[in-house]
């Protein structure tokens, strides 16, 4: 697999391939598996993503602690805001849906992780609904997203415990931005700018879940992460470029993660988890889980 997005973008453009084709070819060569076989695994992942969104939209699922649940349904059927009826609102609902299913021990695709699993399916399936993209196209997009995540894993981190939320939902947003830009007809180079424009907006984001549980604010971070990804996609497709090369943006995400105090890396020692209300809720709810709900 590529170790830099610059290499992947250059390779794809020099050979007239898309990033998804370059990603599938590289994976096939690395793993000794046929492209068809890899696409079949990705197609199953897509089906699971759709299933989770469908399940989460109903609004009857709650997490073990009862702290999260039911909010995707509010965006689907609740009172309108300024973005009613738009792709934007639909994507927010989809991101919440996946994370609500995850928090309720439903089946999801960790992409890149379970805590950051809402952004990518929300953006890709939201676009498929509004633009009628085929499942084949979405499978290509998942390959591109996998390539982006693999480069981030190699150069920085995909773990909240290592790099804060920027490494989980930040990576998820970067994967969504790059793959969706290509899905919408952007060039590999534009996809690179979409990733950089998205990741710059996620830099420094801490991992501060109440009680250390993948619930609050994780569920909402996926929705706001998807919003930043949509901003990155929109800017890149309009021809906006980001002056710092995408690999350097990823490298600095890793550097910020390493410098981040341990309180902000999934330990529930700082951030929202350590607010008076955060501490109180965590204590009450963890007690409730111990008693069996």
């Amino acid at each position: 697999m590529y170790k830099s997005l610059a290499d992947a973008i250059q390779d794809a453009e020099a050979t007239g391939r898309t990033l998804s084709q370059a990603a599938l070819d590289a994976e096939s060569a690395d793993q000794g598996r046929s492209v068809e076989d890899i696409r079949a695994v990705l197609a199953r992942a897509l089906a699971v993503m759709r299933g989770a969104i469908h399940q989460g939209m109903v609004g009857d699922l709650y997490s073990a602690s009862g702290l999260v649940g039911g909010d995707a349904a509010k965006l689907r059927a609740g009172p309108p805001g300024p973005l009613a009826g738009t792709l934007f609102r639909d994507v927010l609902a989809r991101a919440l849906a996946v994370q609500e299913v995850n928090a309720a021990m439903g089946v999801i695709v960790a992409a890149p992780t379970a805590g950051g699993a809402g952004v990518l399916p929300a953006v890709l399936t939201g676009l498929a609904a509004s633009h009628n993209f085929s499942d084949d196209k979405l499978v290509d997009s998942l390959a591109t997203a996998g390539l982006i995540g693999a480069v981030i894993a190699e150069r920085a981190s995909l773990s909240g415990a290592e790099g804060g939320c920027q490494a989980e939902t930040g990576a998820g947003a970067a994967m969504a931005a790059g793959s969706a830009t290509e899905l919408l007809g952007g060039t590999p180079s534009q996809a690179g700018h979409a990733i950089a424009l998205t990741m710059q907006g996620m830099l420094g984001l801490v991992c501060d879940p109440l009680g250390g549980l993948v619930e609050l604010p994780c569920v909402f971070r996926n929705a706001t992460g998807a919003a930043i990804a949509l901003a990155g996609i929109e800017m890149a497709l309009a021809g906006v470029t980001f002056a710092i090369p995408v690999d350097e943006v990823i490298d600095v995400m890793g550097e910020i993660g390493r410098e981040m105090d341990v309180r902000y890396r999934e330990t529930a020692g700082g951030g929202l988890a350590a607010t008076p209300t955060g501490r109180r809720l965590a204590k009450e709810r963890l007690y409730q889980i111990k008693r069996g709900g």
Binding site: M105, V107, V109, G146, A161, L213
Partner: protein
């Protein structure tokens, strides 16, 4: 090398790839170690596994793995009840394994039939796991391959004999590591295979008089 299928995956029961999916895989490795659902399991949880395990379903995922459920099996949600029905007597304990232990570590003591075994493993994130100890011996097993772990006397031709047995059973070796403390001392051998070596292969290796100890761990990662 990172695979894009590691990034888009695993398909799993939530909420945490490290505390749920990884825990399930460690349970599966424990099950593999004793070749079936243990009748008795003591699971000592260290660090974040001990602190936030209950809220993440780590207990259910570990029990589910011991029962043979894979990370995407929805029966994980009710694994503790199923364990009781299937005669898996489990006990969770909180422990402190020291600062060197990974924050998400579990130490299992398992009994199945006349097999008694211990395994210590950590969940590294994104569902990846690493077994660091089996029956008191330090190991490094990732569960990405079918693995044979063994201790043998350091005699000439031992590797040739073992690889010969694997070849006879048409099992291809992916990696092979041999370490020893001193010349003529015991050799510690970890063999990762592309195909699953059956019980027959394990028993054939065990029957070699210079093999002191051998265990088989089936692949648990995608």
């Amino acid at each position: 090398m990172v695979s894009l299928l590691d990034i888009i995956g695993p398909v799993m029961v939530g909420p945490s790839s490290s505390h749920t999916a990884g825990a399930c895989r460690l349970g599966l490795l424990g099950r593999g170690l004793v070749s079936g659902t243990p009748e008795k399991a003591v699971l000592e949880l260290h660090g974040s596994f001990a602190r936030t395990g209950e809220g993440h379903g780590t207990d259910k995922a570990l029990a589910g793995g011991l029962l043979g459920f894979r990370p995407d099996d929805e029966r994980i949600r009710t694994a503790l009840e199923i364990a009781e029905k299937e005669g898996l007597d489990y006990r969770f304990e909180k422990t402190a394994l020291g600062d060197d232990a990974h924050p998400n570590t579990v130490r299992m003591t398992l009994d199945h039939g006349d097999v008694h075994a211990t395994l210590t493993g950590a969940s590294l994130g994104a569902g990846r796991v690493l077994v660091t100890e089996i029956d008191g011996y330090p190991v490094e097993v990732t569960g990405s391959f079918h693995t044979i772990v063994m201790i043998a006397e350091d005699i000439p031709g031992s590797i040739a004999r073992i690889t010969g047995i694997l070849a006879d059973h048409k099992i291809n070796i992916a990696t092979l590591r041999l370490t020893r403390k001193q010349r003529g001392g015991d050799a510690f051998i970890v063999i990762e295979c592309d195909e699953s070596p059956g019980e027959g292969v394990r028993d054939e290796i065990r029957s070699l008089e210079w093999v002191r100890w051998a265990r088989r761990l089936d692949k648990v990662a995608a």
